[in-house]
């Protein structure tokens, strides 16, 4: 059987399959469907220093080949998260990557400091959520602000730091380079693409937030392209995501240059997806007599 182990910033993953933040809670809900022990890691929903109520409803809408969401990062805050969600995740043999969100730099730093004292494996910094009025994407759309927040977080973080990048920029490689230059250990992409849906009968927006982040198979080609571009631009590892629906899709991201891949919105369509990605990647490697997954990472130049 092929080797599927990968390493990101000194953290070993049994396989390259993780979850996309916000689509998998803290693993509790989907543990009814999949064995979390089989996953390379669980990336949690974004957590802030205090509880956030999120946006008004409707928060989700279906669109062709995907969906829009404007949840607005509803979360219980770091206290409950550490007591409940991290305690739950500890029971599994999988890497725990905590997604961190904030309205201001000090919000992010407060969460990072709290996480420093836990035994999580990595943190992912959300500078790309398009659905909140303050923070998040505001830090992720200019190279100098990406550099600045990465630098400040990196200077206090005691865990490897992944910067999650937004596709809603002119040139994502500038953000990737800024993150790398400021000391990020890895980058993850793509977050959702800002979209809109109008109800023509009601002459109004479907989402209460007017805009929402688009995800699902319809955005996959954009995500593959951006992963490829970033892989050419930086040396740090990339976690690739955007519309992954099966093992073949995951292989495509790996070949584009991602070291790991995340299952996102398609978890909602196929709650067994994460586990099927692990199986699908193994099957592809075996069928093609590839001994080590590293042989296909970034193999397309």
């Amino acid at each position: 059987m092929a080797n599927t182990k990968i390493n990101i910033a000194g953290v070993e993953f049994k396989n390259p399959v993780v979850t996309a933040s916000g689509t998998f809670g803290s693993g509790m809900e989907y543990s009814e469907f999949v064995d979390l022990n089989r996953l390379g890691g669980v990336v949690t929903k974004g957590v802030a220093n205090i509880p956030w109520p999120g946006n008004p409803t409707p928060r989700v809408a279906e669109v062709y080949g995907g969906m829009l969401n404007a949840i607005g990062l509803q979360n219980p805050g770091i206290d409950v998260f550490i007591e409940r969600d991290l305690e739950f995740l500890k029971r599994f043999d999988t890497n725990v990557i905590v997604n961190v969100c904030g309205k201001s730099v000090s919000d992010y730093l407060e969460v990072v400091e709290r996480l420093n004292d836990t035994d999580i494996d990595m943190m992912e910094i959300n500078i790309s959520c398009p659905n909140v009025k303050e923070g998040a994407i505001a830090f992720g759309q200019k190279a100098d602000s990406v550099f600045d927040i990465t630098n400040q977080i990196r200077s206090i973080a005691k865990k490897p730091v992944i910067m999650k990048l937004s596709p809603n920029v002119t040139d994502i490689t500038e953000m990737a380079r800024a993150a790398e230059a400021a000391g990020a250990d890895a980058i993850s992409l793509i977050n959702t693409i800002t979209g809109m849906k109008i109800d023509i009968n009601k002459r109004s927006f479907v989402l209460a937030n007017k805009t929402g982040g688009m995800s699902g198979p319809a955005i996959k080609p954009i995500a593959v392209r951006m992963v490829y571009q970033c892989a050419q631009a930086v040396k740090i590892p990339i976690i690739g995501m955007g519309g992954i629906a099966n093992g073949e899709d995951a292989i495509e991201f790996l070949m584009a240059g991602a070291t790991a891949v995340a299952a996102g919105a398609m978890n909602f369509v196929n709650p067994y997806l994460t586990q099927e990605l692990v199986d699908g990647i193994e099957a592809f490697l075996d069928k093609n007599k590839i001994e080590d997954i590293k042989d296909i990472i970034g193999c397309v130049k």
């Binding site: 809900e29 999120g54 409803t57 989700v60 509803q74 219980p76 409950v80 978890n267 369509v269």
Partner: protein
């Protein structure tokens, strides 16, 4: 245990204008309770998310669920073309369901409006002990059902299990007006209310029941994505801190869809 599974259509028919009834043989039936729902998937790869549809009837002997739905978009339009023998992918069983035990030895009034009527049928069946075949849970079961006009559905079936009062907006059958008008006109004194229907109706029931200190369990609706409590797409405002995020936003798909009216702000 929730699962995604394949079911087999055994019967599909239009029972009123744009209202369809679908019987599906599925293992999910064995755990299904009134007020719960399933997600049904389309075969259209452009329309990916499961469609949440409430359970109208459960037949445990045949391991089958009945779903009654209105054509509301391309997903439900596709379902309307399903024929016996076809396979459908289902996610379930979802949601908490109506708390039937609360009706023990009480006069229960079950209120349904429009496409909120279907879950009331299984509830009436359970609370009445299958129309008196088994020992009933409630002392008395009365249904108050609202339709727009004379194009009713499920009415005769409800009458097998309970006394049924009807309200129609145009007055063509029963009380002219809504279900609250019918409740008042018939001077009903429920000990407990269960309801499913459009938001203005649920709001009316909440405002009617609470000053009278009558517990009302209402089934809410919202646009959903995952259906299992992970995405936080389908929340409703709650009067107390919710159990998941502690921000007064409960998940309709998992903490609900049925809530004590006093718990939610609608």
């Amino acid at each position: 245990m929730k699962k995604k599974t394949v079911g087999f259509v055994t019967r599909s028919e239009e029972i009123s204008v744009d209202i369809f009834s679908l019987w599906i043989e599925t293992e999910l039936a064995k755990d299904a309770k009134p007020g719960q729902f399933v997600g049904i998937f389309t075969n259209d790869r452009s329309a990916l998310l499961p469609r949440p549809i409430s359970i109208c009837e459960v037949n445990k002997d045949k391991s089958a669920l009945r779903l009654v739905y209105r054509i509301a978009g391309k997903g439900t339009r596709e379902f309307s073309h399903l024929q016996a023998g076809r396979r459908v992918s289902l996610l379930g069983v979802l949601g908490n369901g109506f708390p039937c035990e609360e009706a023990e030895d009480k006069c229960a009034v079950l209120m349904g409006g429009g496409i909120g009527v279907p879950p009331i049928l299984e509830l009436a069946k359970v609370l009445s002990g299958n129309g008196g075949v088994n020992k009933p849970i409630a002392k008395e079961v009365i249904c108050v059902i609202g339709y727009r006009d004379a194009q009713t559905f499920l009415l005769e079936e409800l009458q097998q299990y309970a006394k049924v009062l009807v309200a129609t907006e145009d007055g063509s059958i029963g009380t002219k007006g809504n279900v609250i008008d019918a409740l008042n006109e018939n001077k009903l004194n429920p000990d407990i209310i269960y309801a499913c229907g459009p938001m203005p109706m649920l709001r009316g029931i909440k405002n009617w029941a609470e000053p009278r200190q009558i517990p009302a369990f209402i089934s809410l609706e919202e646009r959903m994505a995952c259906g299992v409590g992970a995405c936080l797409g389908c929340v409703c405002t709650t009067s107390k801190k919710d159990s998941h995020s502690h921000v007064n936003n409960a998940r309709i798909c998992t903490d609900g869809p049925v809530f004590d009216s006093r718990e939610v702000i609608i």
